[in-house]
């Protein structure tokens, strides 16, 4: 396990307050806190390197551009991409998926075609495909989830038999903690000629990722879920696909030459980065990746998964807890319901002990419907959490039970 006490010292927001209390932040699947190193990188960028990129002839603009492109290269290395040209910076996962659904989707999906998603997809990997399929009169096929929280392989096979244009799935589920067998799913989809988009929002922060080995076509991720700034993230795609895709948004930066009535496009990845990008966010993201590599990504994954298993064991001590998702190998996300107390009430009550957990549908309403619950409570762990956080959570849940006079 990581030494979380030591790690916490790097995170200003997690410092112990004057009242001797500290924040027990267990909503890491939503967004993570930022280490001083990331905050400093953003500040230093604005203090010493800020200029618009790819435009100025002066030294400051050159420095800003170099930093921005260094961040791109860092991302490519971090996820094992095909090269820096395969990394398009976006605001995050949502924008990356919308880019693919709009640009690639409109070029490839026609009436009568099908697109496959799973019942454990986040709304951001569902709605863009709903919009596309409606517009194109294509069929959106949602593959089911087994009671253990895995993608239903039989149902997937039947969906693949139809020869879909694209298969989209989450590497790691934000609502169940399931780690999907991504390489195998990619292989199955490619066998029937489908392109594959992996929603990596919950994978990039938590697991070593090697896209060349996975061989997926598109990979979307969010920097803010991996210690980086809000507004950082990207689409990573095979260069040949990006090259053949029409632009997503039009504007400055993405063009080569412009005439009154037409234009030609910049080379990739710039073709997909219209307008002034969030350079500071990219620079902060680079610092976040350095920080994570410093901890060791295998160690990060092991730490989270140990905490998740520990939390599941401790929750099991309480009567009336139902934990969702797989029992064995899983990420640091633990979704549960408890004692008939609505998750919102739980979240409000444990907040009084400084514990931040998420309550709701986790942007996965189709999944909630299948689980037969309107909402779950969710604790999600990261590098600065440890077993003492689980103790506080369990204690706070006992208080909630007492308030609602539920026996545990």
């Amino acid at each position: 396990m990581l030494d979380a006490t030591r790690v916490r010292e790097d995170f200003p927001i997690l410092a112990t307050g004057s009242d001797g209390r500290r924040l027990i932040y267990l909503d890491n699947a939503a967004t993570t806190q930022k280490p001083r190193r990331v905050i400093d990188a953003v500040r230093q960028y604005y203090e010493s390197s800020n200029a618009n990129v790819h435009r100025g002839a002066y030294a400051l603009a050159v420095r800003a551009t170099e930093l921005y492109e260094a961040a791109r290269e860092r991302v490519a290395g971090f996820v094992g991409a095909w090269g820096p040209e395969s990394v398009v910076f976006t605001r995050g996962t949502t924008e990356a998926i919308n880019l693919v659904a709009t640009s690639w989707g409109r070029a490839h999906v026609r009436a009568g075609d099908s697109v496959v998603v799973t019942a454990m997809d986040h709304h951001s990997n569902l709605i863009p495909w709903q919009l596309l399929c409606r517009e194109r009169e294509a069929t959106l096929r949602m593959v089911g989830v087994t009671p253990e929280g895995a993608i239903d392989q039989d149902d997937l096979r039947s969906a693949l038999a139809r020869g879909p244009r694209l298969v989209a799935f989450p590497f790691v589920s934000n609502a169940l903690g399931t780690i999907n067998p991504a390489a195998e799913l990619v292989r199955m989809a490619h066998e029937v000629g489908a392109a594959v988009l992996i929603d990596g929002a919950q994978a990039a922060p938590h697991l070593p990722v090697d896209l060349q080995a996975l061989d997926c076509d598109f990979f979307a991720f969010s920097g803010h879920k991996m210690l980086g700034p809000m507004g950082s993230g990207g689409l990573v795609a095979k260069p040949a696909l990006l090259d053949a895709m029409p632009p997503y948004q039009g504007g400055g930066e993405m063009i080569a030459q412009v005439w009154d009535d037409r234009a030609t496009w910049n080379r990739i990845p710039h073709k997909f980065e219209a307008g002034t990008p969030n350079v500071a966010a990219a620079v902060g993201l680079m610092a976040a990746m350095d920080y994570l590599d410093g901890l060791g990504r295998g160690a990060v994954a092991a730490h989270e998964s140990a905490l998740a298993r520990g939390a599941i064991d401790r929750l099991g001590e309480l009567d009336g807890v139902r934990v969702f998702g797989p029992r064995g190998d899983r990420s640091g996300v633990v979704s549960f319901v408890f004692g008939g107390i609505h998750p919102h009430d739980l979240a409000t009550i444990v907040d009084q002990d400084g514990v931040c957990i998420r309550a709701g549908h986790h942007c996965a309403q189709p999944l909630m419907r299948r689980l037969g619950v309107p909402a779950t409570a969710r604790a999600s762990f990261y590098v600065y959490n440890d077993v003492s956080d689980i103790d506080v959570l369990i204690g706070a849940l006992r208080k909630a039970a007492a308030l609602f006079r539920v026996s545990v």
């Binding site: 107390i341 609505h342 998750p343 919102h344 009430d345 409000t348 009550i349 009084q352 309550a359 709701g360 549908h361 309403q365 909630m368 309107p374 909402a375 208080k399 308030l403 609602f404 006079r405």
Partner: protein, 154 residues
Amino acid sequence: MSGALAELYQQLIIEHSRSPRNQRAVAGANRTAEGINPLCGDQITLQLRVEGDRVADVGFEGSGCAISKASASLMTGAVLGKTLAEADALFEQFHQMVTSRADAPVSDAALGKLAALAGVRAFPARVKCASLAWHTLHAALAGGGAVSTESATE
């Protein structure tokens, strides 16, 4: 437990959330509306039977947190038998109460048991849970349909 939390989850609220009044379909309903809180998934279907200008019967179904259930329970109890104008006035008073500052005085005389929900004012994230039933009532009396705490619905 903090004072604010005890105030929010006071006896009356817990009791109404565990055994809600009027949680049922209404025979011969002639007004209905559905309310949802898309942020958390709370959902309520409200039915009323209006006779003349009076609420002859009212009931709700759906799922939600303790606050939204207790509020629906208290709301149905409060408007049952009232004239439409009285129900509307209660809606206004309730709305004013839950959106006032946490330390503003609450008129027990006008609100009766509904005043128990004043505790949500210390929890801005929960105000919508308390007001969902009331917005749904407002929609049902205004002609029905669907309301959402986040306004736009399809």
